[in-house]
Symmetry: C2
Subunit: 342 residues, 2 copies
């Protein structure tokens, strides 16, 4: 007896199937399926017997098999850069809420800003046959997605545009936001303004830099090379870049920070300075109101919601040409951006 028991336990996850339920309830397989899916055409009495059998066996429908049969998985994939980044929390959550409203689950992963890892993740999600994908691109070539999209995987790119492929996108107005932020500093009297951003291969970083240059040019102001840092968001490098800008014979009197992570580090560095340096950051930050940090705010939740709604509209059959939505940003003045030149 131990033998038979061990033998049957060998197989992992020896879960009851509809067949088992049918046998126990003394009905046909298809009748169980009908009950499980609340399809019409089952006598209350039969239904009760089936329900009891389900209860007794602890049966739970195997969605893998169901998916195989039905074609749709009722799940969407979300590939972002770093789940731990506070910017992506609200975005994920917004996507999740929309997915939930459509009865879909969310599978997500972080690319860690690595194009290869992005592709690996995306393809793994495609292999699972997610119905749709929301991708915050790490790489700049997404041709590998062409067969997938052609095969019916609805795809929306978020925050940064897709590379070498025509697809739906939902972006924030990085250029306009940065331009407004820098113009704000100029309006408060600054002439020497530093820009600390992310690596130029990241589209938003480039756009924000472009906004910086545009604002400076609009005001007829020159830009020194030493005022611009495009190293990365690594705290040590941001710190070094900031300190360097503040050190020379003609130090900057204001800094524009290219994203939330940069802002955080810059705030730390500025707090150590004697002079009061003006600061505007891209992306809002928790508690920024208490710290009096002026920011260009993009609504991460709105971005996520918009992208997800777009995705489900596609899944519901919308087949217009790929659209590019650009959401506006808002300048929130809290003090740090209104400081005069030191």
């Amino acid at each position: 007896m131990a033998e038979t028991a061990r033998h049957s336990e060998t197989r992992y996850g020896n879960r009851p199937t509809m067949k088992d339920v049918a046998a126990r309830a003394g009905v046909g397989l298809k009748t169980v399926s009908r009950v499980v899916n609340s399809e019409p055409g089952v006598t209350p009495d039969t239904e009760r017997r089936v329900q009891e059998a389900i209860e007794a066996l602890g049966f739970r429908r195997n969605d893998s098999a169901r998916v195989l049969r039905k074609g749709r998985t009722a799940s969407i994939g979300l590939v972002l850069e770093d789940l731990a980044d506070p910017f992506y929390g609200p975005l994920s959550r917004a996507v999740e809420e929309v997915a939930r409203a459509h009865g879909a689950l969310l599978i997500n992963g972080s690319s860690a800003e690595d194009p290869e890892r992005e592709q690996e993740l995306v393809l793994a999600l495609c292999a699972r046959r997610v119905d749709g994908l929301i991708v915050i691109p790490a790489g700049d070539d997404h041709r590998y997605l062409e067969p997938e999209i052609k095969a019916g995987v609805a795809t929306v790119f978020v925050d940064r545009p897709a590379g070498r492929i025509d697809a739906d996108m939902v972006l924030s107005d990085s250029f306009g936001g940065a331009r407004e932020g820098v113009a704000h500093l100029i309006a408060h009297g600054h002439r020497r303004i530093g820009f600390i951003g992310d690596q130029p291969r990241i589209h938003t970083a480039t756009e924000r830099l472009r906004g910086y240059h545009a604002a400076m040019a609009d005001a007829g102001m020159r830009v020194e090379d030493s005022w611009v840092s495009l190293a990365s968001t690594d705290p040590d490098r941001v710190r070094a870049a900031t300190e360097q800008m503040l050190a020379g014979p003609e130090p900057v009197t204001a800094v524009f920070a290219g994203n939330n992570r940069v802002t955080v580090t810059v705030v730390r560095v500025l707090a150590e300075q004697e002079r009061r340096i003006a600061l505007v950051g891209f992306d809002d930050i928790e508690l920024a109101d208490l710290l009096g940090i002026t920011v260009i705010s993009q609504d991460a939740a709105a971005v996520g919601r918009t992208a997800a709604e777009h995705l489900f509209r596609r899944l519901d059959g919308a087949d217009h040409a790929p659209a590019r939505v650009e959401l506006p940003t808002t300048l929130i003045a809290r003090g740090s951006g209104e400081l005069p030149p030191a």
Copy 2:
């Protein structure tokens, strides 16, 4: 021709299968399978032909079918309270990293602190046959998970204990942490200390309250009912509770905040006060160093990592009795907790 095209497009996701690849490469079905899975026993020449066919057709293995056949999905479910909460970002990320190291994907969802929604989510994940589950419980009765666990779904509860069921858990030392934090305030001369926490049905909230009472009792100090608020983390209610404690004839001189969301609101309220009120918060917060907020820090990433590693050890066959791991907390003094009574 438009007709035939439309006709073939009617079926959604008309993707090529191994059969199609086999036909095109002029080999058998199983040979394609071998190539796709890098199994031995295929001539280089045959392999090349198959690879070409795969390329040409844009074939991608259907993991749903694979799962059905193999039994394991190589995915784990993570049910937390709110993806947007900064506490859960690093936790999710840590879980994801461990999952990735084990070749598994992460499916996650937010319970929004609603027990029904938690159950709904968990069962949906079980229906997808995730190999394992990491759950931050919203409810206090998890007997519904018994058949699943028995069927082989490895389950680890995190941050709060499971209800009415014997399972693995990874917790932070809420009691000890709160006790230490309150003792810290007492050591700095405070006698009237407020406690603002989450609803008592949430286990960590109760534990932290218990820690508060313990610290007060240790010091032989009384506790007024009006010093304790267990409303919720809703900013308006926290604000009201804080203001009330600061208003009476015998206002508190220090506040212990029960979690990160409470802390954030309390900080805002205290910033508006004329008197300097001491504060210690449970959970660290970004930029808390700049704001000088003293906190009891729990390492969310460590919690997530520990839980995930535990989970995979189970999946690899560990079958010891359910374990309960409790991770220590750290007090980080930054100023707000060291203020003397006003």
